[in-house]
């Protein structure tokens, strides 16, 4: 069972899902870093993006990857609107308040989708996704490969954006030292709005990438949300690189956990790591930023 080739297969499987986790967590951690908000509705933006992709395809025959042109601006736009309308009024209150607003948003969005689209599971099956690559017992489809590559590329691109561009620097400044940024003349509120939009846009990207792999359903957001939180803490809340690496680590450790433990106890590994880090190393594994 534990020969090297099997372990490599496990690694590959973990990396693939890890990249997806990484991108979603990156969005979440940026939101936390720049405005100290635990965004409980994060998963619902993924759901939104996936439904847009699904209907674009089933009604207009649009290729899911082409839907990125739709999902990204829409999730960004909705994020910014939500920020100005609902988050901003409570942003300086105790941490529980903004989180509760996002919980409310999550409830509304999920049930709105349920009402509009019913609870039916939808799926996209397109011919060119049946191309496969074998690694022993493990099989990776083209769709999964694209998702992996896409998520990785965007994550790195986002990183470059934060590091090298002017806007990215201003966002980082707002996150690292709010008062200093204000003194420097940076419009912190606008940076926060943009960051929120960017965070939700991460899901606008992940959505189309995931449609070949998963089903589409109002509750799909929940599937990933808790993991994203664990990763954000692991990587250090607000730490972008940490979220990326954390995503990969959780992806791999989950796979290992599933192989070693009876299936249902695997999430306990994640949660224990989670608490361990919160307690002993809240700045995360990669305390740099």
């Amino acid at each position: 069972m534990f020969e090297p080739s099997f372990l490599i297969q496990i690694l590959i499987s973990g990396l693939t899902i890890g990249a997806i986790y990484a991108l979603m967590s990156a969005g979440l951690t940026v939101i936390y870093g720049v405005m100290d908000i635990i965004h409980a509705a994060h998963g619902e933006y993924l759901m939104m993006a996936m439904y847009i992709t699904f209907f674009a395809n089933s009604l207009f025959g649009m290729d899911p990857y082409l839907s990125l042109l739709l999902t990204v601006p829409i999730t960004f736009g909705v994020g910014v609107l939500v920020f100005y309308g609902l988050i901003l009024p409570v942003i300086d209150e105790a941490p529980a308040y903004p989180m509760l607003v996002t919980i409310g948003i999550s409830i509304v969005l999920q049930n709105l989708a349920l009402y509009l689209f019913t609870a039916d599971f939808r799926m996209l099956t397109l011919p060119y996704f049946s191309l496969k690559f074998k690694f022993g017992l493990l099989v990776i489809t083209l769709g999964e490969l694209i998702a992996f590559a896409g998520a990785l590329a965007v994550s790195l691109g986002f990183y470059w954006f934060l590091l090298k561009t002017d806007l990215g620097r201003r966002i980082r400044a707002s996150s690292e030292d709010r008062e200093g940024a204000l003194l420097m003349g940076i419009n912190v509120r606008r940076m926060q709005a943009i960051s929120f939009g960017l965070g939700t846009a991460c899901l606008g990207i992940t959505g189309p990438l995931l449609t070949p792999i998963y089903y589409i359903n109002p509750t799909i957001g929940d599937l990933f949300l808790l993991r994203a939180f664990v990763i954000v803490v692991l990587g250090g809340m607000g730490n972008f690189v940490g979220a990326l690496l954390g995503g990969i680590i959780i992806g791999v450790s989950e796979v290992i956990g599933t192989i070693l433990l009876p299936g249902s106890l695997a999430p306990i590994v994640s949660f224990t790591l989670f608490i361990g880090f919160l307690l002993f190393r809240p700045e995360g594994l990669f305390a740099k930023k």
Binding site: M1, S13, T118, T219, G251, T258
Partner: protein, 414 residues
């Protein structure tokens, strides 16, 4: 004076008799003129399981319309059935609250309900306390009828029975495949549904002589099934007995397909017989087997019911939804037997009723008869296989619409 007195007392007797007589007959007439019988239906209409809930509601409406169109409850002078719906949201405390509302506010005579088991368990406690008969049409957790309740009736056989039937079916498949099915694998989700069934399957498989080479449980709603299926495949099983809810079943089949793991028989304990599954996955998971209780193809009557449903609501019926349809008719029959909408009379009617194969028994059961615990003892199962993108009944042979298709089980082709 004496005459006057006599005639006035006769007058009084006369008046009294008229009053008494009209009270007796009037009450009877009044009962005859019960315009409607109110039936409560506790379904899951929102939340993650809303999927089936809406279909259950549709099929209930259809049954009620048919019953009312045929003259309603004849023993009550043609009283019409009216259904009042409650939504448990899949949560037991809300199930309790809704049951209260249906019984107290809406004054229903009887309640029908549909899964999940946790809600049925909670709701039946309320019904017992409030002395209202409760027909569990689709929940089949083991302990629903084990609590000594007098008002609870369970239409569907227990989870354990499913496991036994699956083993019988494996024997049948094995004969068709020339004895090549040797090693078993179990895959199940980690709540009541999966765990209880797994226990049963282990027992029956052992009795039948099939060693279990992989026994894998998984937390429901996992995003990544690669490692789980890799664990399963590593044992090189000849067949898989699986138990999972809809969302997981879809992902598992997708992952298994890409791993070329569908080249052996997969026998599901439920879920795959539902239209909600094969309408989405029918072409992706050809050859999958599943326990069922019905199919539109088991008889011409069954087919016509399905056609009627399709015409009205779109989509197909399946072995799970049909239970609700049957449940409405059971209630109707009980009302006819009781001749009253009174809750206790109805309860007694349900306790003694026997519905034989005929115009009101749609399931391939021997009969519908509830034992002293409230469990239906006449139940039976069928098995479907997904062929041509839909569920086709293949076993027992007397109900089979088509033969078992073995072509996709390439592991056994030498």
């Amino acid at each position: 004076m004496k005459r006057k007195h006599l005639s006035s007392s006769r007058l009084w007797i006369g008046i009294l008799s008229v009053i008494v007589f009209s009270l007796i007959t009037g009450e009877w007439v009044f009962a005859q003129q019960v315009k409607e019988v109110r039936v409560g239906a506790l379904y899951t209409l929102s939340g993650a399981l809303a999927q089936s809930g809406v279909r259950q509601k549709n099929v209930t409406e259809m049954a009620v319309e048919e019953i009312n169109a045929k003259g309603g409850i004849k023993a009550l002078g043609g009283a019409k059935l009216t259904v009042v719906y409650g939504d448990s949201q899949g949560k037991p405390d809300i199930a309790v609250s809704e049951t209260e509302r249906l019984i107290q506010n809406e004054k229903v005579s009887v309640i029908m309900d549909v899964a999940p088991s946790v809600c049925t368990l909670a709701a039946t406690s309320v019904a017992e306390r409030l002395k209202t008969p409760f027909l569990a049409t689709v929940s089949f957790a083991d302990h629903i009828t084990e609590r000594g309740y007098k008002y609870t009736f369970q239409q569907e056989p227990k989870v354990l029975e499913v496991a036994r039937q699956q083993t019988i079916f494996v024997d049948y498949l094995n004969k068709l495949l020339g004895g090549k099915l040797k090693k078993a694998a179990l895959l199940y989700e980690d709540t009541d549904y999966g765990q209880t069934g797994a226990r049963g399957r282990r027992t029956f498989l052992k009795e039948a002589g099939y060693p279990i080479v992989a026994d894998v449980s998984f937390p429901s709603r996992t995003p990544n099934y690669d490692p789980i299926l890799m664990k399963l495949k590593a044992g090189d099983p000849d067949f898989v007995l699986d138990a999972s809810y809809l969302s997981d079943a879809i992902l598992i089949a997708k992952t298994a397909k890409k791993m070329d793991f569908l080249n052996i028989p997969w026998i599901a304990s439920g879920t795959k017989t539902e239209a909600a599954y094969w309408e989405v996955m029918g072409n992706e998971d050809p050859g999958a087997f599943c326990v069922s209780m019905w199919g539109p193809d088991i008889s011409p009557e069954a087919n016509s019911i399905n056609e009627r449903y399709k015409a009205k609501y779109g989509g197909n019926l399946d072995g799970v939804i049909i239970l609700t349809y049957q449940g409405v008719w059971v209630v109707k029959e009980a009302l006819e037997k009781a001749g009253s909408a009174d809750r206790d009379a109805l309860r007694n009617a349900l306790a003694t009723i026997e519905i034989k194969p005929g115009p009101t028994l749609f399931m391939p059961y021997q009969n519908i008869k509830f034992n002293e615990k409230g469990l239906n003892t006449g139940g039976g199962f069928t098995f479907i296989q997904i062929q041509g993108g839909k569920a086709v009944t293949v076993f027992p042979e007397r109900f089979a619409a088509k033969k078992v298709d073995l072509s996709m089980f390439t592991k056994f082709k030498k």
